[in-house]
Amino acid sequence: MKLKISVLFLIYSTLLIVIILTLFSIKSKVITQNKELNWLNSQISQEKNNIQILKAELAYLTTPERINKLQKKYLNLKNIDKSQYQTLDE
């Protein structure tokens, strides 16, 4: 009877220790992966910010006002004329 109890106790306690250890390792893994996730998330938001900045920059560079100035300086384009159109059957 006494032996039975002590064996049972031994089994239970080892099981307990094993469970605690696995739980601990799982948790520590989760923590490291969470850190990684955080880092990636912050990286994503930073990249998004950068894209936002670049888009704004592009919008500045392609304002009609600026393009018009540049074309006057380098290309001197003129408005399209009726004679420049041709239909396919002509």
């Binding site: 605690i20 938001s45 998004k48 936002q52 919008a59 009609p64 159109y85």
Partner: protein, 564 residues
């Protein structure tokens, strides 16, 4: 002796001692087991059940709510947000303030005396400067002054500056919308789960329209003006310019005049442009037809008031198209007499001219129109040629678009794809609309709106001049020059309204600060520039097919202009 006795007496209790000690061990073991169990449960609790809580906290920290963009119909950014940093002072750590402030002022632009005052008053928190540039932030950081801290901030930017200032609107320093789309879609723009707002405006068209309007305002020394281009098939505004405008970056000293969006907030008497509407109502209600003609040689007298024509009533008898072509007040007065007040009111109501416009900005005005008691014969006649009723230019373009677009009224919008096919309301019969288009084309080729004409895009137009009301009286000198047009008129796709506020008489307009002289040429120059961008192919107006489609069977009776 006595000790032996004790052993004896304890012999029976020996068992009890062991039993109690056993019980104690059991209790200790049991309590230890309970503690262990709670610990295990706690581990489970932390690692499994609380996991989601932990995650959500992390996510909350990561979230930086960047305000969504406003873009044009092609995705070009009209308003965007840049992440910036703002610097603040924690006064308790900020020692040697005057010395430090001096060195800060070398790096960034600050007001030292004001900051010193605030440092005395506030002991916990003072903004040093909002929205630093990265260079400024680095320079400030390099100074190494204790007590200066940075927080993440964001700044709204408008790459096109003045170009969309009225419609896009403004935000305050904390990025809350205070006018225009920024205000009406404030919640949507703040919500990170929602996407950008796509307007129906086109940056390229807007730029051209603004340039042309700006030129004409300068040319005739006007105080302002507005120009609107609308897609008649969807009700979407492609462009809406109001001058004078403002620079959204420099909002401290803007006058109210500049902040005022004349397209949505300004109410004006629209003058002769409304004659097109009167004619459409007349034709649609079958009260007049093409073969009718009216004698416009004698002014109409109502009580003490005389309805006269602008350049004297020498027209004699005019056919229906000629009344519009040569803009006869007396002519439309006769038409509206045939139509009657009830029908006029009914059409005005159906066209939404008596209610606020639906456009998505908060700056909107109510039209001004007479009450039922005052809507009598005289008022009905003056309204037939655009006096006695005031509305916004958006009202006008909406109405004009309904006349040319098979009679379907679509509410003006600046949001892309908001109106669908079914959202239109049939106001006029399609036949009325197609006849009106032909008459509008005549007005642009032979009538007063000649200067609005561009032959290869078949412009149909009606001009108007309204006298401004100064101190309750019509001013002979202060005018509003107007022109409403649609193109290509054989199958209208776009409508334009030009309004020039107070053009002065000068040598360029030969002393006529009128719609035909001032506003009509703007239509012509805008159409010839924007039509290729809008993908319209030039049309040969001499093509027999086109001439036949636009042919109006009427008998020209106008003498004075026939000679010219």
């Amino acid at each position: 002796m006595s000790s032996i006795k004790i052993i004896y007496t304890n012999e029976t209790s020996d068992c009890e001692v062991i039993q109690t000690s056993r019980r104690r061990i059991q209790i200790a073991f049991f309590s230890m087991f309970i503690i262990l169990l709670t610990l295990i449960l706690r581990i489970f609790d932390l690692s499994i059940f609380n996991y989601s809580d932990l995650q959500s906290i992390i996510q909350d920290e990561n979230k930086i709510n960047i305000r969504n963009n406003i873009v044009d119909r092609n995705g070009i950014i009209l308003a965007s947000t840049l992440p910036t940093a703002s610097a603040y002072i924690y006064p308790k750590h900020f020692t040697n303030s005057s010395q430090s402030l001096k060195s800060i002022s070398k790096v960034i632009d600050i007001n030292i005396t004001e900051l010193e005052e605030r440092l005395i008053k506030n002991k916990h928190f003072i903004w040093l400067k909002r929205h630093l540039t990265p260079l400024e932030q680095q320079a400030l950081h390099n100074l190494g002054i204790p007590g200066i801290h940075f927080v993440d901030d964001q700044k709204r930017i408008y790459p096109h500056k003045n170009l969309f200032s009225h419609l896009v609107g403004l935000v305050d320093i904390d990025n809350n919308g205070i006018s225009g789309l920024e205000s009406s879609f404030n919640e949507h723009l703040k919500d990170p789960t929602k996407t950008d707002i796509q307007t129906s405006l086109d940056t390229r068209i807007q730029y051209i329209v603004k340039q042309e309007l700006n030129n004409v305002v300068k040319l005739h020394d006007a105080i302002g003006g507005t120009a609107i281009v609308m897609d008649v098939n969807t009700g979407e505004l492609i462009s809406s310019v109001s001058l004078p405008d403002f620079n959204p970056y420099d909002t401290r000293e803007i006058s109210n005049k500049k902040l005022f969006n004349q397209a949505t907030l300004g109410v004006y008497e629209m003058g002769s442009v409304l004659k097109a509407l009167t004619l459409a109502i007349g034709i649609d209600s079958n009260e007049i037809n093409l073969s009718d003609s009216f004698d416009v040689s004698t002014p109409i007298k109502i009580d003490t008031y005389k309805i006269k024509d602008y350049r004297g009533g020498k027209g004699g008898i005019l056919s229906i198209p000629e009344i519009l072509m040569y803009s006869s007040n007396i002519g439309v007065a006769h038409i509206i007499k045939e139509v009657g007040i009830t029908k006029q009111k009914e059409y005005f109501k159906k066209l939404g001219m008596l209610t606020k416009i639906n456009i998505e900005v908060p700056e909107k005005s109510n039209p001004i129109f007479p009450t039922d008691r005052r809507w009598k014969e005289l008022r009905s006649i003056t309204m037939s040629y655009g006096h006695g009723i005031s509305m916004t230019p958006i009202h006008l373009i909406q109405t004009f678009a309904a006349i040319v677009n098979n009679g379907i009224l679509r509410k003006a919008t600046i949001i892309k794809d908001k109106n669908n096919e079914s959202s239109g309301k049939q106001i006029f019969k399609p036949q009325t609309s197609s006849l009106m288009n032909k008459i509008l084309r005549l007005s642009a080729t032979k009538g007063f709106a000649k200067r609005a004409n561009v032959d290869q895009y078949l412009v149909g137009a009606k001009t108007g001049t309204a006298e401004k009301i100064v101190n309750g009286k019509y001013s002979k000198k202060l005018n509003i020059a107007l022109c409403a047009a649609a193109f290509p008129i054989n199958d209208p796709k776009y409508a334009i309204v030009i309004l020039v506020d107070e053009p002065k008489q000068n040598s360029i307009n030969h002393g006529f600060a009128t719609g035909g002289m001032v506003a009509a040429p703007v239509v012509s120059s805008i159409v010839s520039k924007i039509a290729p961008i809008l993908g319209l192919v030039p049309i040969d107006h001499n093509d027999p097919k086109i001439s036949k489609a636009l042919y109006v069977n009427y008998k020209p009776m106008y003498k004075r202009f026939a000679k010219r």
